[in-house]
Symmetry: C2
Subunit: 126 residues, 2 copies
Amino acid sequence: MENSSPSANPNHGFQRNEMKWSPSEKSIARKVFDRALQREFAAIMEKVKQRATRLKAPSELWELERYLTKSRKEIDATYDYRYSMLPIVFGRLVREDRISIDELQGLSAEKLDYVRGVAELGKRWR
Amino acid sequence: MENSSPSANPNHGFQRNEMKWSPSEKSIARKVFDRALQREFAAIMEKVKQRATRLKAPSELWELERYLTKSRKEIDATYDYRYSMLPIVFGRLVREDRISIDELQGLSAEKLDYVRGVAELGKRWR
């Protein structure tokens, strides 16, 4: 009996690791990755500035600390620039509306499919 | 042979624990303690607002996080409102110029001596 769920497909990770990245694909990936990360930093900075302006109670200082710690951990966990990880990273970023699939135009159909798959799969994790 | 160093005096902690706090002393202690803590919070908030306004590089976000964590830990370690600890707490605050000994007027001579002793002793720790 065949099991077609992606998480149960033993070839899934193997296919991703086997993907070859052409120089132009690497260049696209780098740009999209850096742009998403910059947007993320800009959003956090904006939020920190807003929160800092409105600081009144001491407890809000520690809420700000927790927000920063959480943001740092999420960024560390999300932004992994190994080529073997990029299809998953991009899938997650598409899923979270941090990038659009259109920004990845120029990647091979195989990679775009994988990214879309992860983005769809993510909906089930949430 | 007598050892007169405060840290080697086995009665030192005992004397402090034996101190009795009158209602008026408790009221003075509470006010001075709260005022020092409020000043501390106000100083941290001011610094956070300044830093937030000047945020440019992402790395500054994590510097701000570290500053908040350090501030929180220092406050937790310093502000201990057990009566047995207050002479040490006030001594440290005097040593660090966070309160003046004058603010403690109304405490018994014995307590003020102890506070001055800790404030002096602190100079050797630094």
